[in-house]
């Protein structure tokens, strides 16, 4: 399909969108079930089974050790939190700036946020030694009269992520109400019941649209600073320690940029898959890839810059602690991962200077996956290299992930996929009403719809 890349030239009617989107929900082929079964089975086998083994045996099932008490679980946690910064944050920013190209993709981007957060929150449970007492990190009145320690960066995390999950859920739900109403009218049986309840009796009156618009805008205003705070706080889990190469002021912006970077790359991946699998070629176009590509490129440059600054300050400090940590990062046990990260996240994205690259679907998919591999590596290295080279050389050590950890890491992708597969069958994965908004409104003369938006 080669369409010129402007929104105005959608040659589709409202009906077509309706049909396409609702078909994607209601009509379910065997391919979907195979995919769901595969993802679900993999989740069970690679995520829950090793996790339950770990619950039974102890964190020792993972590879963590004495200096390296944190490992891939936390790296995955940051990764998923980072991935979550794609959707809602991007969606909010684009909503407030009225970017119309956002509209075809934001629903799935927000879903990505939500499910990334769910996976990240699950990782908290996987990470801690005694998840059965995790509720102690939640403030609630109890007979012990004990409360969490709100001075801990980890508590900031608990509060921020709880808020973020709540906010993202509400945001994606609010945006979907009109679409639920649309689906409601086309379905029957249990689906009708479900969508009736989900749409809350939405009718699309002028008043409802008005209220929705304002509520949505306020939410967007609230969520942008929230999202920035969430990843800053995640960075503070590290930066508030005094571990050489973790104790850095630049960490908060570094993490936020990294999060948006990997999140945007994640969107590209998801867009590609949705486009292919759900038949959304008309809605997700080269325009989207082009715009996302530009964004990715900018983020890549900022990320590279911050990385360079980090290296420079460590080198310039001249202290043995910082210097050894730097040396270890660049040339130590994990150095091949470091250089892999640099190639994937700083060098390869330079290809996006080319418009042709940005508008090619498959190369963009490959690059987006490479960027996320690189970004995962980045999170892993932040933890592994820093903890391996701390203040007392005689306590230095190396951490190597165990099969259980790697399995859980892979399984978390399956978990995410499973959740996403369920999502596409419940939520209209393209926002119908917003896509309709971008299209030419029907004109007085039914037979001759003209180009241009309504006055």
């Amino acid at each position: 399909m080669h369409r010129p890349m402007t929104t105005e030239t959608f040659k589709l009617g409202y009906n077509d969108i309706h049909d396409d989107v609702i078909r994607s929900i209601v009509k379910t082929g065997p391919k979907y079930y195979i995919a769901l079964a595969t993802a679900g089975g993999t989740t069970l086998l690679c995520f829950f089974f090793p996790w339950f083994y770990q619950l039974y045996y102890g964190i020792g099932a993972a590879g963590m050790n004495h200096p390296g008490v944190w490992g891939t679980y936390l790296a995955s946690f940051i990764f998923w939190i980072g991935l979550s910064h794609s959707g809602t944050l991007l969606s909010c920013v684009l909503h407030l700036t009225n970017s119309s190209w956002r509209k075809a993709m934001y629903r799935s981007a927000e879903a990505m946020t939500l499910f990334s957060l769910v996976v990240a929150a699950t990782y908290v449970m996987v990470h801690v030694g005694r998840p059965w007492f995790i509720h102690w990190a939640v403030p609630y009145p109890n007979q012990m009269e004990l409360w969490p320690n709100f001075r801990s960066p980890l508590m900031f995390d608990v509060m921020a992520i709880a808020t973020y999950i709540t906010g993202s859920t509400i945001f994606i739900y609010m945006g979907s109400i009109p679409d639920f109403a649309a689906v409601r009218d086309r379905t029957s049986g249990w689906r009708n019941t479900m969508y009736t309840l989900l749409s809350l009796g939405w009718r699309g009156t002028d008043k409802e649209w008005h209220r929705l618009h304002w509520a949505y805008t306020f939410l967007a205003v609230l969520i942008i600073p929230l999202a920035v705070s969430v990843h800053s706080i995640v960075s503070w889990d590290f930066a508030m320690s005094i571990v050489p190469s973790l104790h850095q002021t630049i960490f908060a912006p570094y993490f936020v940029v990294g999060a948006i970077y990997s999140g945007t790359a994640g969107i590209v991946t998801v867009m590609f898959v949705l486009r292919k699998s759900m038949g959304f070629e008309q809605y997700i176009t080269k325009l989207h890839f082009d715009n996302l590509g530009k964004l990715l490129l900018v983020l890549s440059l900022i990320w590279t810059y911050i990385n360079g600054v980090e290296l420079f300050t460590a080198w310039y400090s001249g202290t043995s602690e910082e210097y050894e940590a730097l040396n270890y990062k660049l040339f130590g046990y994990y150095s091949w991962l470091y250089w892999e990260m640099i190639i994937f996240c700083a060098v390869l994205p330079m290809l996006m200077f080319s418009t042709r690259f940005r508008t090619s679907f498959v190369p963009m998919l490959i690059l987006s996956i490479a960027i996320n591999i690189g970004m995962y590596t980045e999170r892993f290295l932040i933890i592994a290299t820093s903890l391996s080279r701390q203040y007392l050389p005689d306590a230095w050590g190396t951490y190597v992930p165990s099969p259980v950890e790697i399995s859980i890491m892979l399984g978390s992708f399956a978990l995410f996929t499973t959740l996403f597969l369920v999502f596409v069958k419940i939520f209209p994965s393209v926002s119908m009403y917003e896509v309709k908004e971008t299209m030419a409104t029907p004109k007085m003369e039914p037979a001759a719809p003209a180009a241009g938006s309504p006055a």
Partner: protein, 190 residues
């Protein structure tokens, strides 16, 4: 055409009611067990009655639980201590005969622990006894019990039979009496 969510709610009603009934049932069952099943009050190998000994005969607690004054653990009297009296007293009662059979076989009596604190708690009887805290403050009206039932001290200071000790209850007493370092975790947790 009219629309509202009521029909959908109606469709869901049976399911919703089932969920509600199950949840209420679970809570009710849990609560009923906690409230009406008398607290942990197991049948002991010998039906030793604190009511007869401490209540009717007014034997002081520390006569048998001699350790309480000088050791973290109050201690259970050795079988020889029981026999010391019961060679003379009430020798014909069946429970005393049971006691004597333990004694003659030189076997200890496997008493079942009723007041049991977790292993991570350091509780010392000695300090509490020396602070002149009545045994009943923590163990309830033992002198009225034929069979020992777990009990604790409620927040209002009264004995609550059937409810085991909880950290909050210890803490409450420590706060009320302004115990030195009484709210330091390491005072009680080891």
């Amino acid at each position: 055409m009219n629309i509202s969510i009521v029909p959908a709610l109606k469709v869901l009603r049976p399911a919703a009611m089932l969920v509600i009934v199950v949840l209420v049932g679970l809570v009710l069952g849990y609560w009923a067990n906690a409230t009406f099943v008398p607290g942990y009050s197991p049948e002991q190998p010998i039906a030793f009655s604190h009511k007869i000994h401490a209540g009717d005969n007014e034997i002081p607690c520390l006569y048998c639980h001699t350790q309480a004054r000088r050791s973290p653990s109050a201690g259970v009297p050795a079988v020889s201590k029981c026999v010391g009296c019961h060679l003379e007293v009430a020798t014909e009662k069946p429970q005393i005969r049971l006691l004597m059979s333990y004694w003659e076989n030189r076997e200890p009596i496997p008493w079942i622990k009723v007041h049991d604190l977790p292993d991570f708690v350091h509780f010392t009887h000695k300090r509490h006894v020396l602070a002149n805290i009545e045994c009943q403050t923590c163990h309830g009206p033992v002198e009225t019990m034929d069979r020992i039932t777990v009990s604790s001290r409620a927040v209002n200071g009264s004995a609550q039979v059937g409810k085991p000790w909880k950290m909050g209850l210890c803490l409450n007493c420590h706060r009320e009496n302004e115990v030195v370092n009484g709210t330091d975790c390491w005072t009680c947790h080891k």
